[in-house]
């Protein structure tokens, strides 16, 4: 377990290093003077003359070797300071953190919604393998997996906001605003969760301890709950955290469609507007968090699953 921790921490550091080098290089890519781009993030003065730029460039050390500049930049970013957004002129941290909380709320609602439908579907399919019901569940899950959220989203808006007028078509202002984006976002994970639940549950149901429990007179529903659920939910939990890590920044299209001030939309608008400090800060936050969440999941998996713990010991 300790080896595992050390290893994963190392991996995390290397990832951070690579991502940070790439993020650092963004001002140097594309057209325009890198020094000017960097200054724009550091100095709150829109109209700098060339003389001022030259003076500040020297003062801030932007005329030094690239690797020296990188270490300076890294030192600064590690304290959470990515500079000022080009467009809103507020510090990047003040933009990222609220956006992150919005995205996390959205991701959790979507994934919980998916889980609520997927687990029963998967269990029903697993207990009646090969039946018509099983085939129906398979088809539903395959359809869900194949449904692009940027198709479902606009259709939901059309029906529930435009035609019926039940729900707001966009924005972020309370429970009613979460329903449609969460539903659109929930479909694909719902499909995957169902498939995984079905596969894990079928495997568990074939295990000898299920037969043993049944032969001791335990009713089938009770066996399912006490022995089946406990042993089949681990892979579902892994997938859940996987999607959670991804949706923290990855629900770009849905956030754009529904005009939700989350991480995905922040990243998207910053790329479109070439708002370099926000891109750098956003990418570092999101990619680091994704790796951290997955490392923690792998760790938890080892803790929760005795079989793995033994083999690793």
């Amino acid at each position: 377990m300790l080896m595992f921790l050390i290893r994963r921490t190392l991996v995390l550091m290397v990832t951070l290093l690579v991502v940070s080098v790439l993020a650092f290089l963004i001002p140097y890519a594309g057209e325009g003077d890198p020094a000017r781009k960097i200054l724009r993030a550091r100095v709150n003065d829109p109209a700098l003359t060339q003389d001022q730029v030259n003076a500040l460039t020297h003062e801030l050390g932007l005329d030094r070797a690239l690797h020296l500049q990188y270490f300076d930049w890294l030192k600064q970013t590690l304290t959470g300071d990515f500079g000022l957004s080009y467009t809103s002129r507020s510090p990047v941290g003040d933009l990222v953190l609220p956006a992150l909380s919005v995205s996390i709320t959205l991701a959790l609602s979507a994934l919980l919604l998916a889980l609520v439908f997927a687990v029963p579907l998967g269990i029903v399919a697993a207990t009646r393998r090969g039946s018509k019901l099983d085939n129906a569940v398979t088809f539903v899950s395959q359809s869900a997996v194949s449904a692009p959220e940027y198709w479902i989203g606009p259709v939901l808006v059309l029906v529930f906001a435009r035609y019926l007028g039940w729900l707001p078509s966009g924005g972020w202002n309370g429970i009613a605003y979460i329903v449609m984006p969460a539903t659109a976002l929930a479909l694909r994970p719902l499909g995957y969760f169902t498939q995984v639940t079905r596969a894990a549950m079928s495997e568990v149901l074939a295990a000898p301890y299920i037969t043993a429990a049944r032969s001791r007179g335990l009713s089938f529903p009770k066996t399912l709950l006490r022995h089946g659920m406990r042993n089949s939910m681990l892979p579902v939990m892994t997938l859940f955290s996987f999607w959670f890590a991804g949706l923290m920044g990855g629900s770009v299209v849905i956030e754009v469609i529904f005009n939700i001030p989350g991480m995905g939309r922040l990243l998207y608008t910053s790329v479109v507007n070439n708002d370099i400090p926000v891109i750098q800060g956003g990418m570092m936050w999101i990619l680091t968090l994704a790796v951290v969440v997955n490392t923690v999941t792998d760790l938890l998996y080892g803790v929760l699953n005795p079989a793995i713990r033994v083999t690793h010991a």
Partner: protein, 329 residues
């Protein structure tokens, strides 16, 4: 006259004489055979995909209209005999645009998928065969990349290199090879323990020969299943980027771009957007069905149907179980 016949190479390289491994599956043959008796999702998916691919291939000959010809007097017209799927906001024929756009979406998805499958398979097999630091390097890279969301990586690359097909394909490849590597590594570890590998080693086969002749061919079926399963995912991601205006660049158009263009007219002419999305959905569904069908029908020997009795407790690596370990959105 000196003899022109070279000495048979096999006398010096006996391992070249080794025939195909015992269970080596012929993917294409078994797929064609499979249409008769495999899992039902496989059959439905195959029929769907065949139709879609045929239509896309034949588009230049069968498209009813030119996809770019505008008819501003006939904007946003509903379905009619002349325009089966109606017209869009510039009076262009939706059916023809769907057919031409599909060629873009599907081609880009297919290119990225091929790169991912080849790279992932070779790296995964190499990791399993060589072990040691290569294994460690490849698998730890997979651990990291597998949790990066596709769209975010694409945004990152676009910030660095600007939009373009190169960036698009690179973005989808960087994260896309990881499930193949995981799957192939698991399969290769199983294959490593087989007698025919030992036999090949005793005969003195070089490492590359064992890898490409024995290990990879014996893992082709799950890899094929995985390819189909991932194809739908790629198609959806390509569409998402085009929908955001970061994928296909004008004047080209694909299904995602059509959906984006149709957005402002969703209320007046919902069919344009709905059909473009439906095209992505149906194509993704067809490949998903094929992939799962391949995965659910067992690889070993001729086996006409899956036994519907409870539970298969086999621990073989399959595409689905690898996807369980992680499919980033």
């Amino acid at each position: 006259m000196p003899s022109l016949t070279a000495p048979p190479a096999t006398t010096r390289e006996p391992w070249r004489r080794v025939g195909p491994p015992p269970h080596r599956p012929n993917i294409f043959a078994s797929m064609v055979r499979g249409i008769g008796g495999r899992h039902w999702t496989f059959k439905v998916g195959t029929v769907l995909l065949t139709v879609i691919v045929l239509v896309l291939v034949l588009t230049p000959w069968i498209a009813p209209h030119d996809p770019a010809t505008q008819d501003l007097t006939n904007r946003l017209a509903g379905p009619s005999a002349e325009h089966w799927f109606g017209t869009d906001h510039l009076g262009r024929d939706v059916l023809s645009r769907l057919m031409w756009g599909g060629r873009f979406s599907v081609t880009i998805a297919a290119i990225t998928l091929t790169i991912c499958a080849v790279a992932g398979t070779i790296l995964g097999a190499l990791a399993a065969r060589r072990g040691g630091w290569i294994d460690e390097l490849v698998m730890r890279t997979v651990d990291v990349l597998v949790c990066f969301p596709d769209v975010v990586v694409a945004l990152f690359l676009i910030a660095l290199f600007g939009t373009g097909y190169g960036t698009l394909i690179a973005a989808l490849t960087i994260t896309g090879w990881t499930p193949f590597a995981r799957l192939m590594r698991g399969l290769a570890l199983e294959i490593n323990a087989k007698e025919y590998i030992e036999a090949a080693e005793i005969l003195g086969s070089p490492k590359w020969f064992i890898l490409f002749r024995h290990v990879i061919p014996n893992a082709l079926r799950p890899v094929a299943a995985m390819s189909f399963l991932r194809f739908g995912h790629k198609l959806i991601t390509v569409g998402a980027l085009s929908y955001l205006g970061l994928g296909v660049q004008p004047p080209d158009s694909d299904w995602g771009k059509m959906l984006l263009d149709a957005q402002p007219y969703m209320e007046r002419a919902p069919w344009v957007g709905i059909l473009a999305g439906a095209a992505i959905f149906v194509t993704a569904l067809s490949v998903t069905m094929i992939g799962q069908g391949l995965d659910l029908s067992k690889p070993r020997g001729p086996r006409p149907q899956e036994t519907p009795t409870a539970g298969t407790a086999d621990n073989e690596s399959t595409a689905s179980t690898t996807i369980e370990q992680g499919t980033a959105p």
